[in-house]
């Protein structure tokens, strides 16, 4: 009896498949693709990305032409930056640009009060940032506050030089351009530890293994 039931089931299933196959050949049947993606992305050429939108890398890739030194940078800073960051880059009210990360000093009797009223001021590019290119890239993307994109590349190199000079990282005669900026050694670099979970996530156990390079496979692992 079970054997007969099984045969009946097979026959029925086959019939259903046959009907489905016949239906699928009808030309006006809507197409249910089952694809995980409609694949509607438009082809895009890397060279079409505006230069201003390209990532500036710590090794200097995508740094623009131009150059600027500490002296010009002092002028740019006074005109464009001092109103928010303070006359010498330490007074605020906005982010402190000069000094270490524990900037108020443990001997400062008003340290708790200062931290309480300006907690952000305890972080600085000079004290923490591991790469000098980050400073150029950030000023180019986001500064001056309220009018990003208005500084020339020469002005950005110059104000970067001034900030690095004030942090004791660059000599007073220092001039920055696309080849010298990535060479600047930042004090923060020696103190950086990558978060262990993030380090594990970017570690390639098997770099040769393909990860989802087949289009529309719906699997990237």
């Amino acid at each position: 009896m079970p054997k007969i039931a099984l045969l009946a089931l097979i026959a029925f299933t086959t019939a259903v498949f046959a009907v489905n196959a016949a239906l699928s050949q009808v030309s006006d049947q809507p197409a249910i693709t089952g694809s995980p993606t409609p694949a509607l992305g438009q082809p895009f050429e890397e060279v079409d990305l505006p230069e201003a939108l390209r990532t500036i890398w710590p090794d200097g890739r995508n740094l623009p032409e131009g150059r600027g030194g500490v002296a010009e940078g002092a002028q740019v800073y006074a005109q464009q930056c001092a109103s928010c960051h303070g006359a010498t880059g330490v007074e605020g009210p906005n982010a402190r640009l000069i000094g270490s990360d524990g900037v108020f000093g443990f001997g400062d009797p008003l340290r708790p009060v200062r931290i309480n009223s300006h907690p952000i001021l305890i972080l600085s590019a000079g004290g923490m940032w591991p790469h000098a290119t980050s400073l150029f890239a950030y000023v180019r993307r986001a500064m001056p506050y309220g009018a990003p994109g208005t500084l020339t590349d020469n002005e950005i190199y110059a104000v970067t030089a001034w900030i690095l000079y004030r942090n004791g990282v660059l000599p007073k005669a220092g001039v920055l351009d696309r080849s010298s900026l990535p060479q600047v050694s930042m004090p923060g670099a020696a103190r950086v530890v990558l978060d262990p979970e993030t380090a594990a996530a970017v570690h390639h156990p098997n770099p040769t293994r393909s990860r989802g390079t087949q289009s529309n496979a719906g699997s990237a692992d």
Binding site: P38, T55, Q214, A220, D221
Partner: protein, 408 residues
């Protein structure tokens, strides 16, 4: 809208006048007793987009007590119930303001270490299969005041820890878009950038984004609010808010990080050993008692101790409560469903009779991670460190029932 509303009101009035007239002829005695004023008048018109009523005008976001030079708005946790934050009350941190993005002009570019660089517009993205999930977002700097202030400042819960919110997010799994572009096997990082006036940028590990990341388009069923990244943002459940790039317009696959401003400084963690921990993304297990909480005054008698717990690494396994400053602990009841990387509400009945008390909640997540005390947190993080502060929050209650922020 107004002419239509007036017409509607006129019609309803004439109808009501007719009914009242009939009632008056049938019963000529005095007016009915026991009716509240609002039962005796026609109510107000509704609005095209509903707003909270004037009676709950105190349930609003508040700006951070210490302005760091950019906008920070805190969710008033002590006024909310449930586990979802209303869209208008979601916490927000904007480093360069809220951009006014034209959705017809906005493009998401996916490029770098991919086989086929692609550009997407909003209309195309709306045709992809969408998924929905509930997730919290917490700012890395949430509760920073309790991390850095040498004394416990007298503040409300929302003022101390209101940079945590949760929503039901709907969007496209990032792996679908990554697969369409074809991931280069050597890619390990994603450079994600927003279209705001500052183009906020972070370097993010690729593998977790493939596994769990979403291009979010909707929040609690409606298009993203401008404050939350309209028209699109990254949602990566469990990560610090700063990494979940709003107003997303560029994803570049790479084999190294770019070392953007925030990952280099503001969102790095100075450690007690002098090192600088960078690229820390997961928000550790944490909980806060929402009631009773800071600056409230409680009355004697039975009540519920209630609060919220969450973990960026999974589900909440257990929340324990203490009313004696941590000497004894009692396991709280968790309200189902307990979802991973979402808010979990806990409660426990309590009978208070004017005795001094110090209330604390201590959450443990499904990985076994338990909240540290404030002292233990500071054994790991530098004294001026203020990100990823997940230490146990304490509230002291005096004999008059006044609740205050407390270090225990």
């Amino acid at each position: 809208m107004r002419p239509y509303a007036n017409k509607l009101r006129l019609n309803r009035r004439s109808l009501l006048a007719g009914l009242t007239g009939a009632a008056v002829t049938a019963q000529t005695s005095a007016a009915q007793d026991g009716l509240m004023p609002w039962m005796q008048t026609l109510g107000d018109d509704d609005l095209p987009y509903g707003l909270p009523g004037p009676r709950v005008a105190n349930v609003v976001r508040r700006p951070a007590a210490d302005s760091p030079g950019f906008e920070i708005w805190h969710t008033p946790l002590e006024h909310l119930r449930g586990t979802i934050t209303p869209n208008g009350l979601h916490f927000a941190v904007h480093h360069n303001g809220i951009p006014d993005i034209d959705p017809a002009e906005h493009r998401l570019v996916l490029h770098g270490m991919v086989a086929r660089p692609l550009s997407f517009d909003l209309n195309s993205l709306a045709r992809y299969p969408l998924v929905t999930r509930t997730a919290f977002i917490e700012c890395a700097g949430n509760s920073a005041t309790n991390a850095v202030s040498p004394w416990a400042r007298d503040m409300t819960l929302g003022d101390v820890s209101g940079q945590i919110s949760a929503a039901e997010w709907t969007g496209i799994p990032l792996r679908i878009l990554f697969d369409e572009a074809g991931i280069d096997p050597a890619a390990t990082w994603v450079i994600a950038e927003g279209a705001d006036g500052g183009r906020h940028m972070r370097s993010l590990p690729l593998r977790p984004l493939v596994a769990e990341g979403m291009l979010a388009l909707y929040q609690n069923g409606e298009p993203l609010r401008p404050s939350q990244g309209y028209p699109m943002r990254i949602l990566m459940p469990g990560w610090e808010g700063n990494a979940q790039i709003k107003w997303l317009h560029r994803l570049e696959l790479a084999d190294r990080p770019a070392w953007s401003k925030d990952e280099s400084g503001l969102y790095a963690d100075p450690l007690a050993n002098g090192k600088l921990r960078m690229m820390s993304l997961a928000m550790s297990v944490k909980s806060v008692i929402t009631a009773p909480s800071g600056q409230q005054v409680i009355a004697p008698g039975p009540r519920q101790i209630e609060g919220l717990a969450w973990s960026g690494r999974g589900r909440i396994a257990r929340v324990e409560l203490s009313v004696d400053g941590g000497r004894t602990w009692t396991e709280a009841r968790l309200q189902a469903p307990v979802q991973p990387k979402a808010l979990t509400r806990f409660s426990l009945p309590w009978d208070w009779h004017n005795e001094r008390a110090i209330l604390m909640s201590r959450a443990t997540d499904e990985t076994g991670d338990m909240q540290p005390t404030r002292d233990i947190w500071h054994d790991i993080f530098a004294g001026h460190s203020f990100n990823h502060f997940n230490a146990i929050q304490a509230w002291s209650i005096n004999r008059s029932g006044e609740v205050k922020n407390h270090y225990a």
